[in-house]
Amino acid sequence: MAAGEPNALSITRAIREPALSQADNLNERVTTLYETHRDGIYRFLASHGLSPAVAQEVTQDVFMKLFVALRQGTAIVSEQGWLYGVAAKSAVDYWRREGRSAWVELDLSEAAAVSSANPTPEAEAARAQRLHRIADAMLKLPHELRLCVRLRSEGLRYREIAEILGVGVTTASDWLSTAVERLRGAAHD
């Protein structure tokens, strides 16, 4: 077969994978997404308590799953939402296999070391205390509310958060609003 001549494989793929055939750039597309979102996905997984090695491996696995899904012609409206959804599920699956669930529980005494641009030591101490209170309140949030805040801070839309959590958009909006109000309450205590 001459180079560049269409074969059955390319024709089959053209039918099954329109996104691929249009620009023949699926690898490039996934690679670009990988470079853009891998740190965010990794941090998200690590904040669920996965060790660096496991978080790195699961991050790659999440992108491989995206590649397979796109290659199979799965319609994905928001790739970012899809990636975080799969990452959240992978984290839950991981801890289910391990027989427990975990978020990273941190020593908040480190909060005092938070650097800032406040002009006076008093203002800096007050800010550090405020962040400490918010962080403490965040650790006390129910898992769903905390996940809402994490996902929103990664830039996900309400609809994407709702899909990941398996609830309606209104519920996701309610939860996020409730979480923000609780954290604000802690900030102004």
Binding site: I15, A46, Q56, Q60, E110, M138, E144, V180
Partner: protein, 568 residues
């Protein structure tokens, strides 16, 4: 807009989540309202503080991402190639534009046909999968609640008038259920009354328990058809409702709607929302219903007798119930939550006709699940406490034995082209093998416990449960085996000297024999794969090992086919 914006509206405004019209109205209001503008600015500041707290404090302890990240391109190339090797091998002739056009027409035609034409599938199989998925979905831990909100559409036959309603249903881990229906919601109230009148268990309105109960006197075999990724299942019952139609999502076996056809009206129940929520997020009125104050002894005895509080999956244990049947119910319950796949859970006969479930070594989460699952079964003893452990024996690998350990063949390393690719491949193969073995071990347990003699003493219901478990495990093992063959295909094509796997027809034997034969063959295959792909003290020649694996997979095909076609 004259009223002040709520906090939620302000947050949605900041997040760009309001509709265009609502955003315009909010803009106008904010332009003229000091209070809301100030509230918006404060909210924005507070969100900044929340982000700072998250990034500077909470995520501070999270280990940084790797630098540099490993490249993903080689994995993508490998994944793309491994999925297309067999196509290339088959397509050895040259392509002309005529062939290409014909292929396009044929493939498009097939896809259109496939998606537009309903495909017949086994309704019983769909219902079994749905029941199994449903059992897993609603199995919650204490302190968490399942919420299902459904839309109810009622159409009166005589007037063709349609009314709409909503049921907000909640279910606790202890099976307590609460349906929240608006006082003026005629459609939902009517449906609830029909559930109660027909003694349909008031679990969730769209649940395996509900449709099994509605369809308990079928007059004909249920029919199923696939439309894209939705399965339609039709059931015809002897009494009202005469027709029940389910729509099931095929990717997760979730029932998304149910139509009930009564003589005077038809109801469509469509799921709007399904979630498992924590206690914190459960409204107080719901909690009041789901967690009432502890009843008196008298109240408890009345409550336990109420059929509305029981789900069909729970056994209604009668004094004269066969102990074999009780055991089968326990086995099925464990099977439905996936607790029969090699976990340290043992089911055995206890004292005076009871069944003992020992789960000393199970995870805490599993123990909680078992506690909930088995707590209302009077003839079942659940053992969760760990006895004082005896000191274990430390097995050390002798240096002589360690010296024999051998790594994978160098040619394999070259074929994979990189250690990461080889590791991924090995993990994938061993995962499939392990999953297949877990199902075959579960089958072995069933086969050894339920010999042909003991099966003959079971009730027909218990036999059906046994058949259902056998089929589930056989299908799951077959799926794992298929994945294994697909993954190993390129390696076998490269190195194996054999050209064909064993394709001789399956011998018809009883399911117990087929189960044990399948397990033995799978164990042999697993051993060969581990010798080939991992560091081992049983070195093998690549060609020989792959030929044997190919042969063993052929044998497995046969014994699994025999299992799938057999009945207890």
């Amino acid at each position: 807009m004259t009223e002040h914006l709520t906090r939620q509206q302000l947050l949605s405004y900041l997040d760009g989540e309001l509709s265009k019209a609502a955003t315009r109205a909010a803009d106008e209001h904010l332009h003229s309202c000091w209070t809301c503008r100030t509230a918006l600015e404060r909210l924005q500041e507070d969100i900044g503080a929340i982000l700072d707290a998250q990034n500077a404090v909470l995520l501070r302890g999270v280990p940084p991402p790797p630098k540099p990240w490993p490249r993903i391109e080689p994995l993508l190339v490998a994944a793309a190639e491994s999925g297309h090797v067999s196509w290339r091998a088959r397509l050895s002739f040259r392509w002309s534009p005529v062939y290409a056009t014909a292929a396009v027409v044929a493939i498009v035609g097939f896809i259109v046909f496939r998606w537009l034409t309903p495909t017949a599938v086994s309704a019983n199989e769909v219902l079994r999968q749905v029941a199994q998925a449903d059992a897993k979905r609603v199995a919650t831990a204490s302190g968490r609640f399942v919420r299902q909100r459904v839309r109810v559409t009622k159409t009166e036959r005589r007037t063709a008038r349609t009314t709409f309603g909503e049921i907000d249903s909640w279910r606790a881990a202890n099976n307590a259920v609460y349906w929240r229906v608006g006082a003026s919601d005629v459609a939902a109230s009517d449906l609830r009354e029909r559930y109660q009148r027909e003694n349909v268990p008031t679990g969730l309105p769209l649940s395996a328990a509900a449709y099994q109960s509605w369809s308990r006197q079928l007059t004909a075999e249920p029919q199923a058809a696939r439309h894209g990724n939705v399965m339609d299942v039709s059931l015809t019952a002897a009494h009202e409702p005469h027709q029940i139609d389910l729509k099931v999502r095929s990717d997760d076996w979730h029932v998304i709607s149910m139509d009930l056809s009564f003589a005077d009206a038809g109801f469509q129940i469509g799921e709007e929302e399904f979630a498992v929520v924590s206690r914190d997020l459960t409204p107080p009125d719901v909690l009041a219903h789901l967690e009432p104050p502890p009843p008196t002894t008298e109240e408890r005895s009345v409550a336990s007798a109420s059929p509305a509080r029981r789900l069909p999956s729970e056994p209604s244990v009668e004094p004269a119930q066969n102990v074999d049947d009780i055991e089968m119910e326990v086995l099925l319950a464990l099977h439905q939550i996936g607790a029969d796949l090699g976990e340290p859970i043992e089911v055995a006969r206890g004292d005076s006709g009871s069944i003992r479930v020992n789960a000393w070594g199970a995870s805490q989460e599993r123990k909680n699940q078992l506690r909930e699952l088995l707590k209302d079964r009077p003839n079942v003893q659940l053992e969760l406490e760990t006895p004082a452990s005896e000191p274990g024996t430390v097995v050390e690998l002798s240096s002589a034995r360690a010296a024999k350990l051998t790594g994978p063949d160098e040619r394999l390393a070259r074929w994979f082209g990189g250690s990461q690719l080889r590791e991924n491949f090995t993990r994938s193969v061993l995962d499939s093998g392990t999953s297949m073995l877990s199902h075959l071990y579960a089958l072995k347990e069933l086969a050894q416990r339920w010999t042909p003699e003991s099966v003959s003493g079971l009730s027909s219901n218990a036999k059906n449960n046994l058949a259902s478990m056998i089929q589930d495990h056989a299908r799951a093992a077959t799926a794992d085996e298929s994945e294994l063959k697909l993954t190993l295909g390129p390696l076998i094509a490269e190195f194996s000297s054999k050209t064909d796997a064993d394709t001789s027809p399956a011998h018809q034997t009883d399911w117990q024999t087929s189960a044990l034969a399948s397990l033995q063959t799978a164990k042999d295959t697993d051993g060969l794969m581990r010798s080939l792909l991992t560091t081992t003290n049983h070195p093998v020649v690549v060609e020989d090992a792959l030929s044997q694996i190919q042969h063993k997979l052929g044998e497995l095909d046969n014994s699994l086919a025999s299992l799938r076609s057999s009945k207890p």
